[in-house]
Symmetry: C2
Subunit: 301 residues, 2 copies
């Protein structure tokens, strides 16, 4: 299989945008009829999520190269929710999108291997659709990150290590020390990824850097010159397109920009209420985001 | 409901040991007939895990106050594995044991709330048995830990924040800076837990400190004088009973000691092969660990 970084860049080029849509399904913000269906048991809610994601993913697939399911919102529906997550991953892949599983896992030794096998390797007996990449928390150190790196190599998958997160209080521990911890993590991530740089020039070992603090992007881009960046926080959390430019190279490549609520809750927007259905409003919000980001990819805008 | 710290101390006192058994089911180390049953599909393996844990938990319940399921080993069986995990939690609670879910979750805002609801609140519509406590990765900062703290308060549950993990390379990031990051995390954890100290004198907001480096225990005990410590790494990872004393007070209280493989793989021990069945060998290994730890709890040894 092609390296993750090459698959991602191919998909971004084909669809002409680094737009990533986060699948963070908050039950009370689903469009109807799913919102009402989800009011029942966890099994009812999981069925509503399954059906919603099938329609959502079909709606956005022509416009969006990659989606990012947020495991937490499925886990809170128990095993039925995990089945709905598996269905969403399979659906996205069938529609030609890449999947970055946002599970922020991290553990040591054989436990880390088990997490990596679950999310990147398809699990026991290939019981699950494998995601193309996984977010990983690096706090436990290099020997704890190694099983994830080995699994990524084995499965031609990618990783996005948390370096500097998008929340207001991210600095409490991530800025600790001199140089700040996040810089040390960034340098480690760049080193881990040096041996898996694809034909596209980018490594399959990426990093999460919040899009809410544009001033930091140039700094982390310098520390990780070949690292694909996953930038969360666009839209709802306050990130803007202008602030994202330092993450990208002259060709407009090197990062994916995630938006979740600004897309998933678009059906609630009054200014889009004139459109016929929730799918049209969702598509309009995706198109709006693609336009906002179009200045980043000059060749395709 | 009674505070988590009080429930845990009551259970430790009643059973006379701070022994915690980790449920890290590696399929190729299950006793028969479960090992053979697990060779099939993920659904077969999940059924084997469900049946194995029901027997295991019944075997150890009279001797063990608290168990720690390791989510990763269930997740790699997909949604069927998560159903087996739910069954194990329910079984342990029915048998009067406490459950600390070792999922090492960590995320921001409403995503952190969703994880906390899943594991401590029973999830959507109480679809899952709630664990008594959850392990949490603190890398994302205080505002990311707050939803977990709020959920713990709401559900009379506990948390164990990763402070210093048991793996050899834990120090790469956890020792970064001066004072080391782990010290800053420890002080934050002590602060977060100050408002939820139970009648037992211990806080329901605990910390994970590896049992593999005894010299550090006294240090972290000083930084977190009222924090319950979860000490992994006893037995298989090299921790010994003598090295654990600094984690405990004069009454032999203040920590739980986890062993996973030394209990779960005891059925493979040649020196126990004379015992009739895997349950007897497992019980013998638990009794051995209780004896090794008996010097810690003088009143009950």
């Amino acid at each position: 299989m092609t390296a993750f970084a090459d698959r991602l860049l191919d998909s971004i080029r084909a669809k002409g945008t680094p737009t990533m849509v986060g699948l963070d399904p908050r039950l009370d913000h689903l469009p109807e009829p799913f919102r009402s269906q989800a009011k029942g048991s966890a099994a009812d809610a999981a069925t509503a999520l399954r059906d919603f994601h099938r329609e959502l993913l079909a709606t956005i697939a022509p416009m969006v190269p990659v989606v990012k399911p947020q495991a937490a919102f499925f886990e809170r529906l128990g095993h039925a929710g995990v089945a709905a997550l598996e269905d969403a991953v399979a659906t996205a892949k069938d529609l030609g999108m890449l999947v970055v599983m946002d599970a922020k896992r991290g553990d040591i030794g054989s436990t880390a291997t088990a997490y990596a096998d679950a999310w990147l390797g398809g699990g026991h007996g290939q019981c699950m659709p494998a995601s193309d990449a996984l977010t990983v928390n690096p706090y436990l150190g290099e020997d704890a990150c190694s099983p994830f790196l080995e699994a990524a190599d084995q499965h031609d998958a990618g990783l996005f290590f948390l370096v500097k997160t998008s929340n207001p209080g991210a600095g409490l521990f991530q800025d600790h020390g001199e140089p700040p911890l996040a810089d040390q993590v960034a340098e480690a991530v760049a080193g881990w990824g040096a041996s898996c740089i694809g034909d596209c020039g980018w490594s399959s070992i990426g990093a999460v850097v919040g899009a809410t603090r544009p001033s930091e992007l140039a700094h982390f881009r310098r520390l990780m010159p070949h690292t694909l960046l996953l930038l969360p926080g666009f839209g709802f959390q306050g990130g803007t397109a202008e602030g994202l430019a330092p993450a990208f190279d002259d060709r407009g490549e090197g990062a994916v920009i995630n938006a979740s609520r600004s897309i998933l809750h678009a059906h609630e927007r009054e200014d889009l209420a004139g459109l016929a259905d929730w799918q049209s409003r969702t598509a309009a919000a995706v198109e709006e985001m693609r336009e906002q980001l179009s200045s980043i990819m000059p060749a395709t805008s």
